[in-house]
C-alpha cells in the first residue's frame, strides 16, 4: 500500500514541470550538467525509478535535493516533534472539550446548555482554520497584546495554534459524543445499572462512556489523518517549523526526495493509527471483541 502511494507520488513529481535546481537566473550550462549527472537525472526514467525503489525499500530516502547537507530521514526526525506536539495537544484539547461538552449536552438534553453548545459546535465546524487562526491573532496579539503572533516559543506561543487546530475536532467530537451518549443512555444495560442503584457518576463514567465513545474512537482514525493536513495550514499561519511546512516547501521546491520521504512516512503513520483504532474497538465494546 505504501509502495503504491510512493510510486504514485513519484510519478506526479516527475510529471510536474520544473526541477529543484532552477531559479529565475539561469544556471551555467556546465553546472546544470553536473547537477543532472550527480543525481542520475540523465538516465532513463525506469532506471531512476529502480534506483529509487531499491533505496526506499531499505528506508533510505537519500538526502534532500534542495538542502543536500541533510538527509530526508533526518529532516523528518527533526521536524516531526513540532507537528506532533501541536497535533497531539490539539487532539487532547478536542477530546477534553468535545467529550465533556457532548456528555453534558446528552445528559441535559434540550436544555439551554445543549442548544448553546451544539450551536457553538456548528460554528466551530464551519469556520475554517485559516480564518480562525488570523482572527485569534488579531484579538489576542494585537488588540490585547497577550500572545505572540507567530513562531515557535514557550507555552504561550502554542496556545493559538493548538486552539486553531483543535476547535474543529472539538466540535465534531462534541456532536458525536452527544449522539453516542444519547443512544447509550437509552439502552438496556444503562437502565439496569441505574436500577441497581449505582451513582449517576458511576453510571456515566464506568458504563455509558465506553459505549458512547465508540463513534469518537472510530472518528479518531480519520481525524488524526485530517489533523496532519490541518497542521499544514496552522504551521504556515503561525510560522512553525513542523512537517507540514516542510512538506509544502518541498513540493514547491520540487524536492523529490523529501516529498517522497514524507509521503511514505505519513502513509505508514496513518495505517498504524487505523490499526490502533481497530484494536481499541475491542477494548471498548465487548460485543465486538469476540467477532
Amino acid at each position: 500500500m505504501a509502495w503504491l502511494v510512493v510510486t504514485l507520488t513519484w510519478g506526479l513529481i516527475r510529471i510536474a514541470p520544473g526541477n529543484f535546481y532552477s531559479g529565475e537566473k539561469k544556471l551555467p550550462a556546465a553546472v546544470e550538467a553536473n547537477i543532472r549527472a550527480k543525481y542520475g537525472l540523465d538516465k532513463p526514467w525506469y532506471t531512476q525509478y529502480g534506483m529509487l525503489m531499491s533505496n526506499v525499500v531499505r528506508g533510505d530516502f537519500g538526502d534532500s535535493l534542495k538542502n543536500p547537507d541533510y538527509s530526508v530521514n533526518e529532516m523528518i526526525a527533526e521536524h516531526l516533534p513540532y507537528s506532533a506536539t501541536i497535533g497531539v495537544l490539539a487532539y487532547i484539547l478536542a477530546l477534553v472539550l468535545g467529550i465533556s461538552a457532548g456528555t453534558v449536552a446528552a445528559l441535559k438534553q434540550n436544555s439551554g446548555f445543549d442548544y448553546g453548545s451544539m450551536s457553538a459546535a456548528i460554528l466551530g465546524l464551519s469556520v475554517p482554520n485559516f480564518v480562525l487562526g488570523p482572527l485569534l491573532v488579531l484579538v489576542l496579539s494585537f488588540w490585547l497584546y497577550l500572545l505572540p503572533p507567530a513562531r515557535w516559543g514557550g507555552p504561550s506561543a502554542l496556545i493559538m495554534p493548538v486552539v486553531t487546530l483543535g476547535v474543529i475536532y472539538a466540535a465534531y467530537i462534541a456532536r458525536l459524543t452527544r449522539a453516542g451518549m444519547l443512544e447509550i443512555l437509552r439502552s438496556d444495560y444503562i437502565r439496569t445499572a441505574r436500577a441497581k442503584g449505582l451513582s449517576e457518576t458511576s453510571v456515566i463514567l464506568r458504563h455509558a462512556m465506553r459505549g458512547g465513545l465508540i463513534p469518537v474512537v472510530s472518528f479518531t482514525g480519520p481525524a488524526l489523518a485530517a489533523l496532519l493536513g490541518g497542521t499544514v495550514v496552522v504551521e504556515k499561519v503561525f510560522a512553525l517549523p513542523g512537517l507540514g511546512n516542510i512538506f509544502i516547501q518541498a513540493v514547491l521546491n520540487r524536492d523529490e526526495t523529501v516529498v517522497l520521504g514524507i509521503v511514505a512516512f505519513l502513509s505508514i503513520l496513518i495505517m498504524i493509527f487505523n490499526l490502533i483504532v481497530d484494536v481499541s474497538y475491542g477494548f471498548l465494546d465487548p460485543r465486538i471483541r469476540f467477532e
Binding site: 514541470p17 531559479g23 539561469k26 556546465a30 538542502n67 547537507d69 529532516m75 505572540p148
Partner: protein, 654 residues
C-alpha cells in the same frame, strides 16, 4: 488596525545588543558558494568575509580581508594585499592560500555552485567550471586567437614576475568541451580546427590553471580574461567569500553542520534550527571583533508577508527584509516615518516579449504594445514601485544616469526628434501605438470612446506570470491598459513558479512573460547583461552579436564615464529593438525600529552586519528615515574611516 502613536505596534526596546531580524525564506545551505538566494546572502554576510565588503550605504567595495589593492594598467589584473591578523573562527590564520583554495573550490564542477558564473571573467574559470580541455600538440598549446579569438597585446609588468604569471599572461589557450561527443561536434564543424587537432592531446583544465595566484603569504593576484572594471564590486558577493579548507577537506559536504562548521566573518554560528531560527554570535577570533557592535543576531526564516509584519508589530522582531509590506497596507504603514523604508532598488520588472513567435517578430507590433502602457499610472497604482522606462533602473547608478542622459541627447538628434517627441519615445504614447499597430497590418478602429482591433490574432498572444498577488495585480492593470488603448484584451495566464520558469526558458510562451531581475552587483552591466549571449536570461529569444560587441567594447574601456556612455549606447540599441516592456523599479519596502542603527535602505538591502548596533539613548534614535542616506552616523562613519585608511587609491599602478 489601531493607530498606535508614533511607532508601529508595540515596541520592545532591547536592553542588550541583540538584533532580531526576519530574513525571509529558509536558507538552502550554509555553504556560501552553493546557494544563490537573497535571504542566504544576508546570513552569509554575517558568517563569511571576502577580500572586500559592501559599504553599508552605497554597496561599493570597501577593504575587508584585503587592506588595500591595485588594478593593473588595463584593469584586467588586480593585486590584493591581505591583512596579516585575520583568523578563522577556529583560531587558525587566514592567508592568501585560503583565498586561492576558495576560488578553486568554488569553480570546481562538483561543488555545484549556482553562482560560479559571476566569476567567469576570471581567466580560465569558465573553462574549468565547464570541464573543458586544452589542446596540446607536442609541447605547444593551441591558442584561441588562431581560431577566431581576439589578438591580445602583451601584458605590462604588474607585480612579481612568477612562473604562474608567465603562464597566465601568455596568449589565451584554446579550450574545447570535455565531453567527447560535444567536442567531436565542435571539431567537425570547423575544418581549420579539425586539421589542427589531428594528433593532438586533450589536457583537462585544472584548478591550478585559473587566474588566481597567491604571490606570497598575504598577497593575491587575480588575472581576468578581459578588462572588467566592475570586478571589484563583484568580489563582495558571497561566491567570493572564503570557505575553510580545514573543514571541507575533513568533512566534505557535511562541513556546514553546526558541529563541523568553521567561518571567517564577524559572527560565528551559535544555533541553527531549520525553519525556526538561526543564531549567530560575535566571533572573538574575528580580526575586527573590537568594532563589531552586536553580541548576537537572531535570524528568523518567515516567508508569509502578513506574519512578518505581525511579528514586527507585536515587538517580536526589530527589522525585516525587503518587499515585505503588502500593497494594501502601504498607506497605513507609510505614516510611520521613523521606521518605513521606501527607496529604489537595483531590481526591476519587465514583460519580456517572445520575439520568435509571430506576430511579435514584427518590431512595430512590439513597439505598439510597449507604447500603450502608462507606467507612471502603474506605479501610482502599485504604490511601492517607481516607473521604469529602460532596461537599467534610474536613480540607482547616478553616474550612469548622467551618461545615459548625454547619450540620449545624441540619439535624439540622430533620430531627428524634437525634445517633446523624445520624451515619450520610450514611454507612453497611445496614439503612436495605435498607428504602429495599424501599419503592422492590424488596424485599430475607434468606436466612440473605445477601441477595437478585430484583426489581431488573439490566440497568438498571452500574458504569462507566476502566481502571486502583486504579479496578478500588475498583469490585470497592464491588460486593461492594452484593452483601453489598443482595443485588445490579452488573455492572462498564471503559473506556479517552477512551471513558469520552464515555460519561459524554452520560449514556449506566446507574447509576454514576466521577468523580475535584481542586480548581482552594483553596475549597469548586471542589467544589460541580461540580453548578452545566445542563451541569455532575458528569455526573449533575442540575441544580437552587435549588442554583445557594444558591451564587450564598453567593458574594455578604462575611463569610467566613457564606459558608461558606451553602455548607454548599447542600452538604447536594445531598447530600439523593443524586446521588453519595461514596467517598474522595485522599492525596498521594509521596516526597522528606530533604535537599530547602521542599517541602510541601499539598493540591494544588504547589510554588512558589523556596522549595525542598538542605540539605547532615545535621543539618538533614527527620525524621519527619508533622509537617512544623507545623514552621517558618527559611529558608522568612524568605523568606515578606520577601515578605509588602509586602502590605497584604486586605478592603474604608477
Amino acid at each position: 488596525m489601531q493607530s498606535d502613536g508614533r511607532y508601529f505596534g508595540k515596541m520592545n526596546v532591547p536592553t542588550g545588543n541583540v538584533l532580531r531580524y526576519v530574513s525571509g525564506a529558509e536558507i538552502e545551505s550554509l555553504d556560501p558558494q552553493v546557494s544563490d538566494g537573497q535571504p542566504d546572502a544576508r546570513i552569509f554576510m554575517a558568517l563569511y568575509e571576502g577580500l572586500v565588503e559592501y559599504d553599508p550605504k552605497t554597496l561599493q567595495p570597501i577593504p575587508e580581508l584585503a587592506k588595500s589593492w591595485e588594478a593593473g594598467p588595463r584593469v584586467d589584473e588586480f593585486i590584493f594585499h591581505l591583512r596579516d591578523n585575520a583568523k578563522w573562527s577556529d583560531g587558525s590564520p587566514i592567508t592568501a592560500n585560503d583565498f586561492v583554495y576558495s576560488m578553486r573550490r568554488g569553480f570546481q564542477p562538483d561543488t555545484l555552485s549556482r553562482t560560479a558564473n559571476l566569476g567567469y571573467v576570471v581567466k580560465y574559470a569558465e573553462a574549468f567550471n565547464g570541464g573543458k580541455v586544452f589542446v596540446k600538440k607536442g609541447d605547444q598549446f593551441l591558442l584561441a586567437k588562431d581560431f577566431g579569438g581576439a589578438e591580445e597585446a602583451p601584458a605590462a609588468p604588474f607585480g612579481p614576475e612568477t612562473e604562474f604569471r608567465k603562464f597566465i599572461r601568455s596568449p589565451e589557450r584554446l579550450t574545447l568541451p570535455g565531453d567527447e561527443k560535444k567536442r567531436a561536434k565542435a571539431i567537425d564543424a570547423n575544418p581549420q580546427l579539425k586539421a589542427a587537432v589531428d594528433g593532438a592531446e586533450f589536457v583537462p583544465v585544472t584548478a591550478n590553471d585559473i587566474g588566481i595566484e597567491a604571490v606570497d603569504r598575504y598577497t593575491v593576484r587575480i588575472t581576468l580574461r578581459q578588462s572588467a572594471p566592475y570586478f571589484l564590486g563583484l568580489l563582495a558577493h558571497q561566491f567570493f567569500r572564503l570557505v575553510p579548507q580545514q573543514a571541507i577537506s575533513k568533512y566534505g559536504r557535511q562541513w556546514t553542520r553546526p558541529e563541523n562548521i568553521v567561518t571567517c566573518g564577524p559572527f560565528r554560528l551559535k544555533e541553527y534550527k531549520r525553519y525556526d531560527k538561526l543564531i549567530v554570535e560575535r566571533d572573538p577570533n574575528y580580526w575586527d571583533a573590537a568594532n563589531v557592535h552586536l553580541d548576537r543576531i537572531e535570524f528568523y526564516p518567515v516567508e508569509e508577508l502578513t506574519t512578518i509584519v505581525n511579528l514586527y508589530k507585536a515587538g517580536d522582531v526589530d527589522a525585516f527584509l525587503n518587499h515585505s509590506v503588502l500593497a494594501a497596507w502601504i498607506d497605513s504603514i507609510r505614516k510611520y516615518k521613523d521606521e518605513y523604508m521606501l527607496f529604489p532598488e537595483a531590481a526591476v520588472s519587465y514583460y519580456g516579449i517572445n520575439v520568435t513567435k509571430p506576430p511579435f517578430d514584427n518590431l512595430k507590433v512590439r513597439r505598439a504594445f510597449d507604447l500603450a502602457v502608462d507606467r507612471v499610472a502603474l506605479s501610482e497604482y502599485r504604490k511601492i514601485t517607481q516607473p521604469l522606462f529602460d532596461i537599467t533602473p534610474n536613480k540607482v547608478f547616478p553616474d550612469y544616469d548622467k551618461a545615459r542622459d548625454k547619450v540620449g541627447e545624441e540619439i535624439r538628434n540622430e533620430k531627428k526628434l524634437t525634445p517633446d517627441q523624445w520624451k515619450n519615445y520610450f514611454g507612453f504614447d497611445p496614439d503612436q501605438a495605435r498607428k504602429l499597430l495599424t501599419e503592422a497590418g492590424y488596424p485599430v478602429q475607434k468606436n466612440g470612446d473605445t477601441y477595437s482591433c478585430p484583426s489581431f490574432p488573439i490566440d497568438k498572444v498571452q500574458l504569462t506570470f507566476n502566481t502571486g498577488e502583486s504579479n496578478k495585480a500588475i498583469a490585470e492593470f497592464v491588460q486593461s491598459q492594452w484593452r483601453q488603448n489598443l482595443g485588445i484584451t490579452v488573455p492572462l495566464q498564471n503559473m506556479e513558479f517552477k512551471t513558469f520558469l520552464a515555460f519561459k526558458d524554452e520560449l514556449q510562451y506566446p507574447g509576454f512573460s514576466q521577468l523580475l531581475w535584481s542586480g548581482d552587483y552594483m553596475d549597469p552591466n548586471t542589467f544589460l547583461g541580461l540580453f548578452y549571449g545566445q542563451h541569455n536570461n532575458g528569455d526573449t529569444g533575442w540575441y544580437d552579436p552587435k549588442y554583445d560587441k557594444m558591451l564587450d567594447d564598453a567593458n574594455s574601456e578604462l575611463d569610467p564615464q566613457k564606459r558608461y556612455e558606451m553602455m548607454a549606447r548599447a542600452e538604447y540599441y536594445a531598447l530600439d529593438n523593443c524586446i521588453i516592456v519595461p514596467l517598474t523599479i522595485n522599492a525596498t519596502n521594509w521596516m526597522k525600529r528606530p533604535y537599530v542603527k547602521g542599517m541602510y535602505p541601499n539598493p540591494g538591502t544588504l547589510h554588512p552586519w558589523k556596522f549595525v548596533y542598538i542605540e539605547h539613548d532615545p535621543a539618538k534614535w533614527d527620525h524621519d528615515v527619508q533622509n537617512i542616506m544623507d545623514e552621517t552616523d558618527p559611529i558608522v562613519a568612524a568605523e568606515l574611516q578606520q577601515i578605509k585608511r588602509t586602502q590605497q587609491p584604486t586605478g592603474p599602478a604608477e
